[in-house]
Assembly symmetry: C2
Homo-oligomer: 276 residues x 2
Amino acid sequence: MTQHVFDQALALAPDDLAAGRFTGQTSAAYWNMVGPFGGTTAALVLQSVLLHPALLGAPIALTVNYAAAIEAGPFEIHAVPVRTNRSTQHWTIQITQMDAGGNPQINTTATVVTALRRSTWGATDAPMPKVPPPSDVAPYGRSPSGVAWFSQYDMRPVSGAIPGTWDGTGDHSETVVWLRDAQPRPLDFASLASMSDMFYPRVWLRRTTRVPAGTVSITTYFHADAAQLAQVGTGHLLGRAVGQQFRNGFFDQSAQLWSESGDLLATSNQIVYFKE
Amino acid sequence: MTQHVFDQALALAPDDLAAGRFTGQTSAAYWNMVGPFGGTTAALVLQSVLLHPALLGAPIALTVNYAAAIEAGPFEIHAVPVRTNRSTQHWTIQITQMDAGGNPQINTTATVVTALRRSTWGATDAPMPKVPPPSDVAPYGRSPSGVAWFSQYDMRPVSGAIPGTWDGTGDHSETVVWLRDAQPRPLDFASLASMSDMFYPRVWLRRTTRVPAGTVSITTYFHADAAQLAQVGTGHLLGRAVGQQFRNGFFDQSAQLWSESGDLLATSNQIVYFKE
């Protein structure tokens, strides 16, 4: 069986496994405008932690800062468990590439928290919106954004689709969309991390105007364990994203991702640069 | 004039200013149950960046991971500008304390993004709730949480106050509260960072049950510049916080902070550990 394109993008070779040093290659299949899709970068950061032999528990929180463009080609990831407690573990992660002079340059900084979870009381205060099932919602007909990574996902916008015309009439910033890997792949933490970044820039919707925009920093909280993700399997997730504040070159977007059965699996926030 | 208690808590002495190495002291005035109030820790992280001679621009994003308890006494902060671009700058920060053997132990990891902002189009999609003005809302009569830091703030709960009785009848997790420093102090980035963490654990409200809980990681996005913060001066902010998902020992809480005139100054999210 051919390896899934996402697993190809996630492939990391250990340079020094005990030290958390890995080498990877950017993926053409997940290319964005001027660099890799940020979701795959977030997934790679998480993957370096998940592969580390000192790992305690499962992901709780992931923050990825996109410090500089990642060039097509090889990169190095270094994951360090800086503090291990009885039930939580704190990680710092950096991605570097060599510059023309052969010096490593940091292009991504990140922190991850992992934890051993135990069964407790639980509740949700963010119920899944009532929407038609994915089978009743039409997928995007083609990659409306014109970038490679978009085609790797099956996205079915319930509301707030990428505007068909850029006529400046926008009056809200909320998208609700069914989503999953275009080529079926069982959900795991890495793909959930990636999917948390798959909402197009809210400023495009809010203004119905396409301006240059790029994520500066994303933080994702994981509310599910591996068994819950495995239950989702290759099913759709329902994603919702909305902007809260747009001002002077930056805006935030806040997102939730539910399983089709209505479990809130992850919540995510990002701050995004925009021009003009 | 005596220095404000918050400025006392924020005081950092440069050990090596060019290298971003500072020493501080925990503040008894902002003590929480078993360590400093996390808001002051977040403010100290930000302060180390703001004091750094290489600083570019103003804060955009702040993530603080509470990796281990901070003991009463001295600590060291190390702020490193790992990547400086034309208009953005990426920082990593760590707080350490010496253990009994004289070895530095990391208790806090953090990342900060700063940026030069320019004037652009803007909008808000998270309008301030319509509530009575702060003069019409009664402050908490005493520190209902029994901890020192709480008394440093003037908090006037509009809804979702700390429960007076722990009777297990809770059915929502939303608090709306007017807040400012108890001893007047003009708003700045450090105090806004601190105030982003001043919402008591959502699980207490949701369950009307007081269980052990502590922030594991907080991320705050700054939507205002220094001039806007200065305009707020010593006025109240309106804060709103709500939980989205509670499950297996962790929950998130999502917060907004508006100026009294309705400008959304900051949005913040955190993931919190809870027991049982």
